[in-house]
Symmetry: C2
Subunit: 189 residues, 2 copies
Amino acid sequence: MKYGTILVIDDNAAILTAVKICLTGVFERVVTLTSPDKALVTIAQENPAAILLDMNFSLGVNSGQEGMMWLSAIHRKYPDIPIVLITAYADVKLAVRALKNGAADFVTKPWDNDELIRVLKDAIDKAGEVIPLDQLETEHVRKVLNKCDGNMKKAADLLGISRQTLYNKVKASPLTPLRGEGKLRGEGE
Amino acid sequence: MKYGTILVIDDNAAILTAVKICLTGVFERVVTLTSPDKALVTIAQENPAAILLDMNFSLGVNSGQEGMMWLSAIHRKYPDIPIVLITAYADVKLAVRALKNGAADFVTKPWDNDELIRVLKDAIDKAGEVIPLDQLETEHVRKVLNKCDGNMKKAADLLGISRQTLYNKVKASPLTPLRGEGKLRGEGE
DNA sequence: GCCGTTTGTCCAAACATTAGACACACTTGT
DNA sequence: ACAAGTGTGTCTAATGTTTGGACAAACGGC
């Protein structure tokens, strides 16, 4: 089984059961919590591959503030564990804020079991990807160079490396001419 | 004026006018298009600091497919220009998909002028940030090391560098002990 | 055409990375 | 408790990279 432990946090026991049934068989282990109070402790103990977090706890308060707070708290402490949010209140603003706060995905109730499984798997797969250091470097260098309209001196300065080093790096990877965003010096109009 | 040109694309001329009035004075120049057909050409000419893109063109088709297509097309060609989406149909799935497809933000109609301005400014500010190369490197190294539970040999392998180099890098930046996600070797229980 | 900036190129010194080696610590299976 | 397997911390010597400084040539604005 490729996909490890998953932690599900929801204040509704019925939903917890339903999710557990849906996810058991796909994930090695499904741990549930009815409140996020002990989330950090449980995460430390179980080291889940992903977390499925409901956004509204404390009955009656449905603004999602609770869930957002926990999302931030968990994400700050465990930035490498993908957190998928789930909520009954399909609020676009909330969803956008959640994704910008580090959520891996956002699902609304009622959910589709297959979709939920796909979303969680995707989140885990994406979190597991590791980019080699020099690839990361090359990509970033090209992005900054692009932003500087090809001005190597400025780009080198922003990158915190010397002009010659940038020059050498660019020469070393002549790949991806990377069009767009203002012509590189010497390009005709 | 710190914030440059902005390109607004919406098939509704009235909305285009309203947005233009709202944004003029805040941005140096507001360029409008009633159809995204010429978006790529216009972007090449105007080099906007951000793009505000409506999600439903071709009257009657409100699924947002049109807008999503254009989002992808523009983002692929100009990955450094932030694209803010705007739509009348507050669909969470659509918003999530848009953000995962590279949108900088997602706003629903009717919009709040101040919020729209804030969102666009934020998007531009964020796109303008440049991370120094060694900071990017250090962050990535620590993330991967963390994922490997502190196993330097494995981490070095994934990063594509030698074990000793990783060892030196870690020694060089003893910052951010970075707890969580499984104990590093030697940590007590 | 002049002036400030940027490029392409070179140098030599300082620094980083590499494979290989080795003793030691730790985990695991028996 | 032992041996096998793996990972660490440390070292070396060769190789490769980054650095500031320097300079002629090219470019852009005025």
